[in-house]
Amino acid sequence: MNEITFQKDPITQATINSKIGTHLDGAIVTFIGRVRKNSRGREVLYLEYEIYEEMARKELQKIEKEAVDRWSLNTCIIIHRIGRVEISETSIFIAVSSPHRKESFLAAEFIIDEIKKSVPIWKKEFYNDGSEWISERS
């Protein structure tokens, strides 16, 4: 099953696990991105994610399709938080499954790498003394 979700509420894994993998799959790889307290030497209080949702969905669908086709995944679930996210909360959850493990590892890493390149979502960090938009490549 393939699924793309943007959600304001915390990501809880319990609801997800039952959807992942078929009896054909010997491997499931998950990637969880979490909000760190420390960023570029500054203490972060919390984050906010802004999203261009219609475009983000299209870009994610392209990434998902490429990964599913290339590595014959049986599951590809991608969940991204939007809005305010607290320290140590999950900002992104990716789960993929495939008959053998090599494919799942390659796919999970490909998906998060591509998301960080092209999906229109922006992170704003909030500190004790202000806030800042983060632009990874600027």
Binding site: G33, Y49, E50, I51, Y52, E54, M55, A56, K58, H80, S91, I92, I112, I115, K116, K117, S118, V119, P120, I121, W122, K123, K124, W133, I134, S135, E136, R137, S138
Partner: protein, 81 residues
């Protein structure tokens, strides 16, 4: 012709709008529009080399010529994930 411009993240702060309808001349490029925006909001200048552009939710480069009804989005490098 009429187009819509959307901005995100710090570009929204700099330009002071999130979405705007604009009447522009035929054959205008993204580059032309960006030049005009930078004239109005000089702080955009330092982002000139990193700005990303999309038309109707698809990435395009600066040479793209807009059509009537196009939705242009201007935004900084993404930082999700």
């Amino acid at each position: 012709m009429k187009i819509t411009i959307k901005t995100f993240a710090h570009f929204k702060d700099i330009c002071g709008f999130q979405e705007k309808e604009l009447t522009v001349s035929d054959n205008i490029t993204i580059s032309d529009i960006l030049r005009e925006i930078t004239r109005l909001h000089p702080e955009m200048h330092k982002h000139a080399t990193s700005v990303l552009c999309a038309i109707n939710q698809e990435y395009k480069d600066l040479n793209y010529r807009l059509n009537d009804g196009d939705k242009l989005a201007l935004f900084p490098p993404v930082s999700g994930g």
